[in-house]
């Protein structure tokens, strides 16, 4: 693991990417929140911001951004908070899970499972 990383690493350390912060100010961003960019990147921006803005022309989840940038989710969240604060992106929260009453009954699910196993 180490040798591969050493060969392909960038000299940027994560604390220089986040400016020393390790925690996002805002906790509203979930890993599955969809991010949409609202403007084009301007010259002089941090390269991660530029890439996020380019990437999020279509709604993109926070985890996907994290995977694309190769950065931990918490770091991406800090970067996204910066962009949110300046209004360059908007976040759309996924619809919450359906209410418990709408889910099929647990007993029926169990029976389906048993039926499937008997096949």
């Amino acid at each position: 693991m180490t040798s591969w990383r050493v060969d392909s690493e960038n000299p940027d350390r994560l604390y220089t990417v986040t400016g020393g912060r390790s925690r996002a100010d805002e906790n509203s961003l979930d890993v599955v929140s969809l991010i949409v960019s609202e403007c084009e990147p301007t010259p002089g921006m941090q390269s991660e911001h530029v890439r996020i803005l380019r990437m999020c022309h279509r709604p993109t989840a926070v985890v996907e951004i994290s995977a694309e940038l190769g950065l931990p989710v918490s770091v991406v969240r800090i970067l996204l908070c910066d962009l949110l604060d300046t209004g360059r992106i908007t976040a759309r929260h996924p619809p919450s899970a359906p209410a418990k009453a709408q889910l099929p009954d647990l007993e029926i699910l169990k029976q389906v499972l048993v039926g499937l196993q008997k096949l």
Binding site: P11, R13, E68, S74
Partner: protein, 461 residues
């Protein structure tokens, strides 16, 4: 030098020659004068006069001889003194510098002594020998200390590099709660790595690591900023898109880090340090400006001298301030130009010029997944994927598995032409059975004289 020896022997012999000439002459002259005077005097006082004159003549002869001998000896000694003076001057001006230079170049004391003309004087020989021993010992100590330092620094560098890689992996793996602590450790490790790099640079060892690809200016600046303690006080103003060649990137980062460290430590903790990047035709100019104290003219010239093109003089190192010496070494190595000037912000500004040879332009792909392609190790040869879409050709090669992207079905993602498959397994299993039979039937046909081909299969068994 051997020609001096007979001269010296002659010179050392007591100079009696003139005395031997003068003494008989004086005896003859005074004897003659005495005889003449005695002959002229009346016979009454002749005996007394003869005695007196004889005594005076002997006294005169002895005095003259001594005087001549003394004069001769003085002249002789003066000559010898002049000769010794010349010898010592030759020793100081010619022999010793050559000797010391040979010792500095790594020759042992005996080798160095054998290569220089040997002085005739035994005392000078002893001086030379002692000096050669001592200087040689000093040189050996210096070389040993340097190599020990370089070795230790290299080990610390390797440790720091692997620790940084491990920390980065941990930062990916662990959650937000641990991230802050990991970042702190990361920062400390990066600073320790810079210190080890500094020692390595000063001892002439290789610098920390080599990057195999050009590093963009933003990463260079971040890499530099990340190695100093007060990195949060540095404000970077850069819109530059150029990159620095991989072999020089580490040196440039290190030099910038040292300059930024100086700027942050010599300015008030409340003030920020500003870094400006400007692309010019001759390269890239990076300016580090602080709001600290203005350096005096003497301090400016001292700083300028430390980073100038003169080779490093270890005696000018002070124990605590290595930064500018390190910058000087790196500047000489990579051809950077560093100059100091009073800053418009009230402090000191340092202008670093990265020459055009070290600067490359990075083709920036507008596609957002271009950086992913860059992550693939260059050493792994890309397997030709004939008709597969270009987008899937990079990451899929890593693991040999198709990878579905957003908005793409799995069937589309899988390579359109699978890798060349082995021949169908049926052909392989039949081969051992049919092959001997076919050969045998061919043999039989040949022996029969080319009859119609018979089916080879079953009757051979």
């Amino acid at each position: 030098m051997s020609a001096h020896t007979p001269i010296r022997r002659l010179a050392e012999r007591p100079p009696m020659g003139q005395v031997l000439l003068v003494l008989p002459a004086a005896v003859i002259i005074t004897g003659g004068v005495c005889l003449w005077v005695v002959a002229e005097t009346p016979a009454a006082g002749q005996t007394l006069v003869a005695w007196c004159l004889g005594a005076a003549a002997v006294l005169l002869c002895v005095t003259v001889s001594f005087a001549v001998y003394g004069a001769q000896r003085t002249r002789h000694l003066r000559d010898r003194l002049a000769e010794m003076d010349a010898d010592v001057a030759r020793l100081a001006d010619d022999t010793l510098p050559v000797l010391v230079q040979r010792l500095r170049d790594g020759a042992s004391a005996d080798t160095a002594l054998a290569g220089i003309p040997k002085p005739a004087d035994r005392n000078q020989q002893r001086i030379l020998w002692t000096l050669a021993q001592e200087v040689g010992k000093g040189e050996r100590m210096r070389a040993a200390a340097m190599s020990a330092c370089a070795n230790a620094a290299g080990r610390v560098q390797a440790l720091a590099t692997s620790m940084l890689a491990d920390l980065r992996a941990m930062e990916d793996r662990h959650s937000e709660e641990v991230l802050g602590d990991l970042l702190k450790l990361d920062h400390s490790t990066a600073q320790a790595g810079r210190l080890a790099d500094s020692i390595a640079v000063l001892t002439g060892a290789r610098s920390g690591r080599r990057w195999t690809k050009p590093i963009v200016m933003e990463s260079i600046l971040r890499g530099a900023v990340g190695r100093i303690s007060a990195y949060q006080r540095v404000r970077v103003h850069s819109a530059s898109t150029v990159a620095v060649a991989g072999y020089a990137a580490e040196g440039v980062m290190h030099a910038l880090a040292e300059l930024m460290d100086n700027a942050t430590s010599f300015s008030p903790p409340s003030e920020e340090v500003h870094v400006y990047v400007e692309d010019v035709s001759a390269g890239v100019v990076i300016t580090v400006e602080d709001c600290g104290l203005v350096m005096s003219a003497a301090a400016l010239s001292r700083a300028q001298k430390a980073v100038s093109a003169e080779p490093l003089d270890l005696t000018t190192l002070s124990g605590t301030r290595l930064g500018l010496a390190v910058v000087g070494c790196l500047a000489r190595k990579h051809g950077l130009t560093v100059s100091f000037r009073p800053s418009s912000r009230g402090g000191t500004g340092v202008v670093v010029m990265i020459p055009q040879q070290l600067v490359t332009q990075v083709a920036r792909s507008p596609r957002m997944d271009a950086p992913r392609a860059a992550r693939v190790p260059a050493a792994r040869p890309a397997r030709p994927v004939a008709a597969a879409p270009a987008e899937t050709s990079t990451d899929d090669d890593l693991y040999g598995l198709p990878k579905r992207r957003r908005g793409q079905t799995l069937a589309a993602a899988s390579p359109a032409s699978p890798p060349p498959s082995p021949p169908p397994p049926t052909a392989k299993t039949e081969r051992p059975h049919s092959d001997p039979g076919a050969r045998f039937s061919a043999f039989r046909q040949a022996s029969r004289g080319g009859g119609p081909t018979t089916p080879p299969a079953d009757d051979t068994r």
